[in-house]
Amino acid sequence: MSDISPEEALSPTIDLNRLRLSQNFADQVGVKKQLLVVPIRKPDRQWFIRVRPEPDWSFTTATLTIKEERGSETFIVDRTLWEFLPGELVPTLLVVGISRQSAMFVWPLRLPGSDGRSDGWSRSALAAAELAKTHWIRVAANMPAGAYDVFRASADLPEPEWPEVSFQRVIELAFADRFIRSVDHPVVRRLRGQM
């Protein structure tokens, strides 16, 4: 701990600033939070969120959503399997969002179908995600209107702190066990009446 010379230490005019020990404990211990799980979900109605704005941080694909009693599960499906699941797949834009509490999530946004039509929920969600690229917003369902209400924070809030991770890694973490690669996948088999 004695990081100053004996002469300095014993000088009656010692500069106390030279004795100061750093209180930057993060640099000294090097503990980093590890991102292990990324949920796939809509933002909670009480969260203020931002969306990662860079073009290479979004991904258009076809997703399969299975609705269960306890909620729904979204899968991505290998392109070679799309023909086996007619009517089940939904064109989806995957974007990455983050809450004010720094919770990161993948937000699946429904795109218009091949007929170019979409409902109020999808249109308002896409508009909200676009706005969230530059502003903190909150999204809440408005059932009578059949669309999401979007609330923009008026305060001058700081920019989000994105974890140091690539988009590829985020998608891998989010869909680690939700990537359908073969027709033998239990979900596909169930949908095809094979189990």
Binding site: A9, R20, F25, V31, L157, E161
Partner: protein, 567 residues
């Protein structure tokens, strides 16, 4: 590094001191480490000396165990204080702070810790009695007392080689520097209205029942002098006060809970004052000398955070805050109570380098700034317009500083836990850099097994860890560093600091010097904050009281007025 010193004097005084009085020196024993030179001097000869019989200049090191006592003898004898003080008590505390010490942290405990035989230094009751009896002493008694005194010096000599390798000398000398300031403050003492104290002591027994009746008129919770929990529960229900309970379901009636609740519900403050006064106030124990000065050991470095921990009953700044109204400057003088504004917030901002927190502190009103940063108050909103919101954000800031969870905060603000959680949430969202740093503090403590301040006051992390205490340690312990440094700087510049009060200083000066003394002391506080935080300085506030007015703590004013009216 101690090789640089030409002389190293291990020193011990034997003295007696009546409560509140300066020490009366009986004898001195000092051994010089290098030459083996021994000094054993009786009081009458000591009083004839204008300077110490050993070197105290920049080339010498003064070593003692709990040195403010030895330095107090220097001051009582009119001797200069040594330039370099190394206190082995303080260094032993620093080495073992946070550890379980089976034999305590006294001289015997330190010897035992290092596996040294402590028998020779064991306190001999008859010797203590002999010293306290006072003179005149026979020749044999003198010899016995000198031998008793020398035993402690010999213990120091044995402690030295085992402790020296552990010393971080430059910072140990900074701590020793504070022991000089502590000695000066202990020597000066706090001015007390002797007449009022005598009157109070005389009448306290008689008026106690009447005070209870008077204060209890608003509460109806006493039966004669006994506090009745069932009546208190009824009062709380009537007033809709959500009081914390123990796991058993009974009301938590400890003083910490009362103090917190009295802050949240000021109407309860007189009841808390009354309870403390009845249970803890021992007016006879208040250590006030014949000259009307309250002098007691400050017990420097006693607390885990390195703060002073003086006796609650002997020191006037104990838990009964109304008693502080006994503090009155002497004729022709004034006192000033100086404290840093929002010190913990400022320390947290500077140490974590959180830009939002620093800008909130710089704004002058961190609570309003926090509300603005969180978007609850518009950028141009004022304290007057948004008083209620500001209060809520203030509660959140204080809750974080006191390491309160949502449950405790809910009790404090009298709101549901969900509301408290909603109050704490913006703090984490707004001050993310601070929280990251705070998490790193806990990580560091758990991984490395210790935490330390800017000047090396160290907490060893044992098996039982309270993460909230760890989070708070940098703020509280560096706050203590700041106070110690400010006391050192101020006393060295000749400011009469009469007491450190938690995180504040009380000073005194004649009327015509008071303004300058306040400015000098505030300048020292500013410098101390700059040095400790390595950032822009913290602001300080001054409350000046001039004779014949008395000092008053707002929390105790009502109780004092009640008592005084009866007297």
């Amino acid at each position: 590094m101690t090789d640089r010193f030409k002389k190293i004097w291990c020193t011990d005084f034997e003295f007696r001191s009546a409560p509140g009085e300066r020490p009366e020196t009986i004898c001195l024993v000092a051994h010089e480490l290098r030459s083996g030179r021994r000094l054993m001097i009786w009081a009458d000869e000591l009083r004839r000396l204008a300077t110490p019989p050993y070197e105290v200049g920049p080339d010498s090191l003064f070593v003692a165990f709990y040195s403010s006592a030895e330095l107090g003898c220097h001051l009582a004898l009119g001797w200069p204080l040594p330039v370099n003080v190394l206190d082995l008590y303080v260094e032993f505390r620093n080495l073992t702070n946070g550890r379980e010490l089976p034999c305590g942290n006294g001289l015997l405990g330190a010897l035992a810790w290092f596996g040294l035989d402590a028998m020779a230094a064991a306190e001999k009751e008859e010797m203590r009695t002999l010293a306290l009896r006072g003179g005149p002493w026979t020749a044999d008694e003198r010899t016995a007392l000198l031998a008793y005194c020398e035993a402690d010096v010999v213990a120091l000599l044995r402690l030295w080689p085992v402790m020296e390798p552990h010393l971080d000398l430059p910072r140990a000398l900074v701590r020793g520097r504070y022991m000089k300031a502590a000695a000066r403050m202990e020597d000066l003492g706090v001015p007390v209205d002797l007449e009022a104290l005598a009157h109070l002591r005389e009448k306290w027994g008689e008026i106690k029942t009447r005070i209870v009746q008077r204060v209890d008129a608003d509460f109806h919770v006493y039966e004669e002098l006994s506090f009745r929990a069932d009546r208190f529960a009824k009062y709380l229900a009537e007033q809709s006060v959500p009081w914390p309970r123990l796991q058993s379901g009974a009301l938590a009636l400890d003083d910490d809970t009362f103090r917190d609740m009295a802050r949240a519900y000021p109407a309860l403050a007189p009841l808390r004052e009354l309870r403390v006064s009845l249970s803890q106030l021992r007016l006879e124990d208040l250590a006030v000398g014949a000259d009307g000065r309250n002098r007691s050991l400050l017990s420097a470095f006693r607390a885990r955070t390195g703060r002073n921990q003086p006796s609650n009953s002997k020191f006037i700044f104990g838990p009964s805050v109304w008693i502080r109204s006994l503090i009155r400057p002497e004729a022709g003088t004034g006192i000033a109570y100086l404290d840093w504004s929002q010190q913990e917030f400022g320390i947290a901002a500077a140490l974590s380098q959180d830009p939002s927190m620093m800008s909130a502190y710089t704004s002058g009103d961190p609570y309003l700034a926090f509300a603005k940063q969180a978007g609850a108050v518009p950028p141009r909103g004022t304290k007057e317009e948004y008083r209620e919101i500001r209060e809520r954000f203030k509660a959140a800031v204080l809750a974080v500083q006191y390491s309160m969870g949502a449950e405790s905060l809910a009790v404090r603000i009298g709101q549901p836990v969900s509301a408290a959680r909603e109050l704490l949430r913006p703090h984490r969202e707004t001050y993310r850099t601070f929280w990251k740093w705070s998490d790193a503090v806990v990580d560091y403590a758990l991984l490395r097994g210790r935490l330390f301040t800017v000047f090396g006051w160290t907490l060893q992390i044992g098996e039982k860890v309270n993460p909230r205490m760890l989070r708070n340690f940098p703020m509280q312990a560096n706050g203590a560093e700041m106070l110690r440094l400010a006391c050192s700087l101020a006393t060295e510049q000749g400011v009469k600091v009469v007491a450190p009060v938690h995180d504040a200083l009380m000073i005194e000066a004649p009327f015509d010097e008071l303004e300058v003394a306040v400015a000098t002391a505030q300048d020292c506080m500013r410098k101390a904050s700059e040095i400790v935080l390595a950032s822009s300085p913290l602001r300080s506030d001054a409350k000046v009281v001039r004779y014949p007015d008395r000092y008053q703590d707002p929390r105790g004013t009502r109780m004092w007025d009640t008592v005084w009216a009866m007297l």
